[in-house]
Symmetry: D2
Subunit: 309 residues, 4 copies
């Protein structure tokens, strides 16, 4: 198995725009994809928790992946999420997305019964073995249930195409532990529960999260400023964006991302029932936070002379 690399950088987690009839709004999704790529993002991840993956049937999931890959048209890699309780279900999803042209897989495990350390490792290893795509391990116990201990990540890092991890614990020390215990064999992406700039500074390679779908230009600029060694500008953007992470981690995610994209001019509708729309007070928080991000971006761009460093 030869596995191509995924680039580091900004991977917005995509929303899943679904109409009341259950059909994917391909036009709406295409417009978002074009906007994100124009903003300079490095890849796209449909079907994360941001994409309400648990609320979608298997055909809906495949339709989202197909529409995203078509819209991206090979301009950036598309790395969809695979999420299941059963190994065979995850294998089916992963193979289907590989056949559709995905560049990698973000692999999640949903938890019901205790399966022990060996069961956890077998799930991820067996799904990885079923495809030749690079695999991003994803762990978010608060939404999916179930732990992915650092020891299991270290063991899984021996599997050739398991190359990355996206951690949503919010515990930055865990990221340092992953880097230590995998000896550099695993690239770490930040999730929205982390401060991405801190993850970059610790050696992380990118940010995969819903907020990057809402402020892709500021996220890309922060990443550029970091790479350019301009810590002051990167920190200014990070401070301005952190309140957006706070909103994402303190509200229901599906409702939050859809309200945020609607505010940004992409009317993606309400989250999938029984989820309801974001509360009005949280929409107001979002609006204020987005204004602050925009102001910080204007200020940083003015200072660095151009956004195209």
């Amino acid at each position: 198995v030869t596995t191509s690399e995924l680039p580091g950088g900004i991977y917005p987690y995509l929303v899943s725009p679904i109409g009341p009839d259950g059909a994917v709004d391909r036009g709406g999704l295409h417009a978002i994809v074009d906007h994100l790529i124009a903003s300079g993002v490095h890849g796209l991840s449909p079907l994360g928790s941001t994409g309400e993956v648990m609320y979608l049937t298997a055909p809906q999931r495949a339709a989202i992946v197909e529409a995203t890959i078509t819209a991206a048209a090979r301009r950036v890699p598309v790395v969809p999420g695979v999420s299941a309780f059963a190994t065979h279900d995850a294998v089916e999803q992963a193979r289907r997305y590989e056949a559709l042209g995905a560049s990698g897989i973000v692999l999640m495990r949903q938890h019901a019964f205790e399966i022990g350390a060996a069961g956890i490792v077998s799930y991820f290893a067996d799904v990885a073995a079923a495809v030749s795509l690079p695999i991003v391990l994803y762990t978010n116990p608060s939404v999916l249930g179930g732990e992915l201990p650092v020891r299991a990540i270290a063991e899984l890092a021996e599997v050739p195409n398991i190359r990355y991890v996206k951690d949503a614990s919010g515990n930055t020390g865990r990221i340092l532990s992953i880097l230590e215990h995998t000896g550099g064999r695993i690239g770490v992406y930040s999730a929205s529960a982390h401060i991405p700039l801190v993850v970059f500074e610790l050696g992380g390679i990118g940010w995969m999260a819903g907020p990057a779908c809402v402020v892709p230009d500021a996220a890309v600029e922060m990443h550029r400023r970091f790479l350019a060694g301009d810590r002051a500008a990167a920190a200014e953007l990070q401070r301005a964006m952190w309140p957006l992470n706070e909103v994402f981690t303190s509200t229901p995610l599906g409702a939050c991302i859809k309200a945020a994209l609607t505010l940004r001019g992409f009317p993606v509708g309400d989250p999938i029932p029984p989820q309801g729309p974001l509360a009005g007070t949280d929409v107001a928080r979002l609006r204020a936070v987005l204004d602050r991000v925009d102001a910080a971006l204007t200020s940083v761009r003015a200072r660095v002379g151009s956004s195209a460093t």
Copy 2:
């Protein structure tokens, strides 16, 4: 909507026998169904957590329901579980099982993002409105996530075809609270985390749980003794069966039920990966517990002269 009643009594939760190729073992399932009906059970519930419902794809679930209904051949009602995160997904499942001839639905909600009290009520009410079958609300936060507060149950009791609740909290006071706050409009079934005889004594109408699939004759006899007012015999059977509930609630459920049925002469294989088989020490516990149940049943039957009161 006119909704027929579900009878009270013993409803074994069925195992889901699935081969390594993902196909349902229809012959194995038929044999179990025949055995359970011969033991005198009052209904059958496929696709509960005992049936590893979360680990099955939509086509596998439908195949299990179809095979169970065919095997039961209208001798007893079949009440399959519907389990989903999204309302539309649950509606599709419920309608499909109604079309296949189900007599009722055990309705579960899987939890990801916070949806508030109104969201919880809307999920159950919207699925109930989509079918004309009687609905059993099922709540098991430790496996499915998400609460179903007594207040929500009281509100849902106003929906005409929401008629029953199966509670898996283990907290007996919650059952008394449900009975109090629904004013007799809701029938309560015990799950394996409860002492079913106590639930009967408080006014509950039956026992829906995995252990009843393993010791159907003892479960049916306990229920008969209770109805006959023979508390001593019912309590003797209950004391003998309680250790079986203990095993079910302290081991991984899918592994436990499959090991137990294999011990009882129904080789249903291992649980669906990434679940592994039950640990050997737990199999030994199961064997000892089953022996004790059999001995108690023999003793009670000898005393009451006949099992057919």
Copy 3:
């Protein structure tokens, strides 16, 4: 060590009336003790969680025990709570209360760091060994933290003066498990999270809880009706009292008991800061619930002709 028995029956958990200056209101406590004994209770337990034991300093605790024993004047046994993180702290408390004339100890463990099964057993066994009083093991993980597994209870049942357990899990099956695994060597008292009548029916010997301090006459009558084999009357009282248990387990306990006693004519003030008084809506719930208990008691007494069976 010869340990006298504690009688079964109704043990109200006592409130701790403390003035703003931190001094015990001995007169107020005496009035409550007299009232409870006149109502027919079988024992008194100061310094439970109902008594806000964690909020009291060592001298305050000793003053409460001394005042209660003085007020009880050997009419009923006084069984104070001992609560500590450290073994030596619990030993000091237990010896002090033994010297003050206590008839037994309700022994609680507060939890900070993991101590494993051996640590748990050593705590309870070492404190028991330091006194010759009968010990009631008390386990309430939701307030005190830390588990007391059934296996540990079974091991502790071998210690001569560990004779009883009070369980606050609300999980009735756990009580049946305790009875099974201790082979009758341990007497079980119900806490307010349980339905006491169900615990009696399973073989429990009494009810130790805050609600019994508020409705001692109804609690005593329910116990008498149970002992007399009059299940209908006992159940009627239980159904009327259960909403009181619901209030106790769904509100902050210190605030709830003090509001309830004030409603009953014993002005015991507010809970110890930083606790605040019970919310007004909960006080209204309490009042309605107490009225219902009183009505049920009147009805049952009228039917049985006399309360003195």
Copy 4:
């Protein structure tokens, strides 16, 4: 109230050496204090969770504070922990330590019953009002129970002598949120669940934690390298020390700190029962980790020419 400042930097959390008779080992404590001050630490904190504060009686706590202040002899500030459920209990402790000569208080709240946001704020504000020392808010829900929301910290930041916070959540984003929402009025110290270098880089002012008691020289050197702008050396020391934080947060804290100090040549005995000594495998992990820290310190010192920058 005029409150002097606490300096930033390294504050080792002190162990509590207690003999089997319950008496403080003043000589042992003095030796540790001398060693820490010689290593260049900026302050000393007795009676944290590292100091097993919950396991100590009020007289033992006062003896520890008195002995530490005597040993420190004004060379560095002594900032003891105050920990209680009740406001009055915390006030008594704080006043006593102020009278003994403490330079500040680390104020913890132990949690039993729900007290709401207003109750939480009142506890910390009322204790702060009772002394004129600077207050460090300390929040560690996993050991003490109870939350201290960022919103409450922001409100408490208005109290004149509430000047600092020590956060043990491990969630670095929470530290950024605290800094944002208190507008610079609150200084933040890292606990052992955080990566202290990251906290410094985000604007934190120091590290208050048990590991600093075990490797004070490396901790002081990391802080110096950070202040000197030598990020490479600081990061090298941080990477070497992080495994020590991992051991501290994955083992029982009281057992861990006492084993670590014993390895460092300070025989402080076992943790207070019912805690037991650290498992042998964890002692071996500790030893390996300490060797790595020592090697990194030697390497960094060799490179920077001298440790006395």
